[in-house]
């Protein structure tokens, strides 16, 4: 281990204090450039190390746990590389904080539509975990907006794919494959995203009944909790006024996103959107939830796993999934039934991470 440590020290910066929430590991690096990271991962492959990739540490509960040998933090890869407001594209490094990024974009009336309540979340982590904001209700998930990606593969190659244009069919869509891959294909060192302008006027309307949302053409989001439904509107002032009037209810002239759910167990229940009402009916009685009505995704918080096996079994029967996203439990699989084509997924990953060093074993199927 000391030779490995020496080799890593030669090529990369080391953090002296681990970040908040980081697990114990023998080695911890925070490379400053893609080349430094490549040298680190090349060494990790040679030495067969298990590597945990760390952004903001907000979603490390996704997937099966890992006891890492080496933690690679992207904290020092945190530059905004290029923002072209006139072209509605942005290129940034993985360590950029989502909150800061969105504040910057808002200064010119633009947004990357990343999660609205990101905490310490980073751009790289958001992409690797496949997270989307609530405004996906209108604009679609994050994976629909990734244009180009540069990765450092498990064995230290620097690979670029895609392009910095909003419309592109030039080779395989590796950028899309990377979203939600939990780092298994490589550490993202640069990503180009398609931006959208922010609406001229916005409003949050609170109603009792989530069915009222059907009165509005393409709300930004519709979030239902046990006691109320919040409908998020965006558009021209006349349009927003019209829609708010139609809906009735209490209106606030800004987008007020709900606070995070309590714990300790967090779940993501994913079903075809039309099955939403039935899904809510099947949840255990004492739980908190936030239902993205037009999307078919329900964030659920419970104290225990009681009743959740039945929810999972039903969700899978309608083509969905119940995923445990935070909290530790024994004897309850975090992902549920793996997807089809696991052998194919293994082969894909092997082409990028032959020694399987990057977040190994965290994805469904434990690949």
């Amino acid at each position: 281990m000391s030779t490995i440590r020496a080799a890593l020290a030669r090529v990369a910066n080391s953090l002296t204090t681990p970040g908040p929430g980081m697990p114990a590991a023998d080695l911890l690096v925070a490379p400053r450039t893609a080349e430094e990271l490549a040298a680190v991962l090349e060494q990790a492959t040679i030495s067969g190390l298990k590597v945990l990739i760390w952004g903001g540490g907000t979603h490390q509960g996704l997937g099966y746990p890992l006891a890492p040998d080496l933690i690679v933090s992207v904290a020092n890869l945190n530059r905004i590389v290029a923002w072209e407001p006139e072209d509605l594209t942005l290129v940034a490094e993985p360590g950029v904080a989502v909150a800061e990024l969105e504040t910057l974009l808002a200064s010119k009336g633009q947004t990357a539509l990343l999660p609205e309540v990101p905490g310490h979340g980073t751009l790289g982590g958001t992409l690797a975990a496949g997270l989307s904001g609530y405004r996906r209700g209108r604009y679609g998930p994050t994976r629909d907006r990734i244009l180009e990606v540069t990765l450092v593969t498990g064995d230290g190659r620097i690979v670029k794919a895609g392009g910095r244009v909003v419309k592109n069919v030039t080779g395989y869509d590796l950028p899309r494959l990377v979203v939600g891959s939990l780092g298994s294909l490589g550490v993202i060192v640069s990503a180009c995203l398609k931006l959208w302008p922010t609406p001229e006027a916005v409003a949050t309307v609170i109603v009792d009944d989530s069915d009222r949302a059907a009165l509005v053409y393409r709300p930004l989001a519709v979030l239902a909790s046990p006691t109320k439904t919040q409908i998020y509107l965006g558009g021209t002032p006349a349009e927003v006024d019209d829609q708010a009037r139609h809906l009735g209810g209490e209106r606030v002239d800004e987008l007020v996103w709900p606070p995070p759910l309590p714990g300790p167990l967090h779940w993501s229940l994913r079903i075809p959107p039309a099955q939403g009402a039935e899904a809510i009916g099947r949840l255990p009685s004492a739980c908190a939830y936030l239902h993205q009505v037009t999307v078919g995704e329900i964030a659920v918080a419970t104290e225990t796993i009681e009743g959740m096996a039945a929810v999972r079994s039903w969700a899978e029967s309608v083509g969905g999934r119940l995923v445990l996203t935070a909290g530790t439990v024994d004897g309850f699989d975090r992902w549920g039934t793996p997807p089809q084509g696991l052998d194919l997924q293994r082969r894909l990953i092997a082409g990028f991470d032959p020694a399987r060093v990057l977040n190994p074993g965290r994805l469904p199927g434990r690949i």
């Binding site: 190659r157 069919v169 075809p272």
Partner: protein
Amino acid sequence: MIDELRRALSEERVLDTPLARHLYAKDAGVYRGDASVVVLPLTTGEVVDVVKIAARHQVPLVARGAGTGLAAGAVPLEGGIVLSTTRMNQIGDVDPINRTAWVGPGVINLDLSRAVSHLGLHFAPDPSSQAACTIGGNVANNSGGPHCLSEGSTVNHVLALEMVLADGSVVTVGSPAPDPIGLDVRGVVVGSEGTLAIVTAALVKLTTNPPDVRTLLASFSRVADAAATVSGIIAAGVVPAALEMMDQKITQACENFIHAGLPTDAAAILLAEVVGETAAVDAEADLIKSIAVEQQARSVMLAADEAERALLWRARKSAFGAVAQIAPNYYLHDTVVPRTRLVDTLERIYEVGDRYGLTMMNVFHAGDGNLHPLMIFDAGEPGMIDRVTAASDELVKACVEAGGALSGEHGIGREKRDLMPLLFSPIDLDAQARIKEAFDPDGLFNPGKILPRGARCFDTGGGLPDGAWV
């Protein structure tokens, strides 16, 4: 092998007559291949049989929808079996609340929209070839169309795929529910031009017809003014449903063909469309009009009703067909540049045309920088093909230099395969070749497309200098 195919499918759906082999050896582009046999399966099971037979004989397998592609994606350049999906044209039950349906790869794009229009729905990707092209082809090319500016291209409208892999196994990837777990294999198969798997069914996402729409036609004396209007619209925070530009020559061609009342004396015209609730579209249409006027538009006309709107779109979508009337030969290009580089790229395109003595016309998806320069010529003229080839090369390179990519929607196919190194390093191409290898280790699915020869060349990790030949 042909007997095995006949036993697996049927006599009449395995064609090896010289005529069939000739017809299926070409798409709508310039390359011609060589088909040993053409098969027309009806079911996923039959596709599995064909894949296994091809594998047993180690023969290439090229899937084909309607053959409207322009990049030779469906052309059997290395021989083998052409698998036509046109008989797999069933539209399954439409789920009107989830707005989804499983459809066969042979379903024609426009037929799908027509089949669901009574539910107030349509399929958003609308390439100009939509009256002929198939959903399978749309999946293979990640097809776009004018309305993908705000809606995105095919990959944003396909939730799941059933496909046959090279080993004959059938997998369904993706899901009717959001955020399927595991790698987004669906996302990489869309746009893979038939080189990774044979898609036998697609779960399409249908789009609600918008409550209202406004379509504007603005004409300009200078192309730069039209392009400045496009930039102005984006800068004002409006993302129209469609934003198309046509130059004078193409406008004249379309007008002669369709007679939609297009202004044929304008240097450029802009066709803009906004959708949404009435209050929104009125406000956005007013904004677009005022931006156009600010940029010296000679006229701005608002389509008065659905009939006028439909006529404008017919005129736009007939561009390719209209040109066929004018010249014996034409080459429709597909390039994409950042929107901010539209004007100078256009100038370079005209300049290249002048220098090579070729007539250049331009129609394009201005909103997303996807240009379709159209070269018209007479191939019979001595030396003309060489000039067209050289000019095309320069044109593509100019777009890449402007920060663009090789293709906005037609795909790489064979047409741009050998230009991939303009954008990607040997390590980048090797990584793409590894994706191909993971799906199709024997390389039988549509060989010779997308990636140039020798793309798969590195066995070791980093530390190799760029361009090193291992």
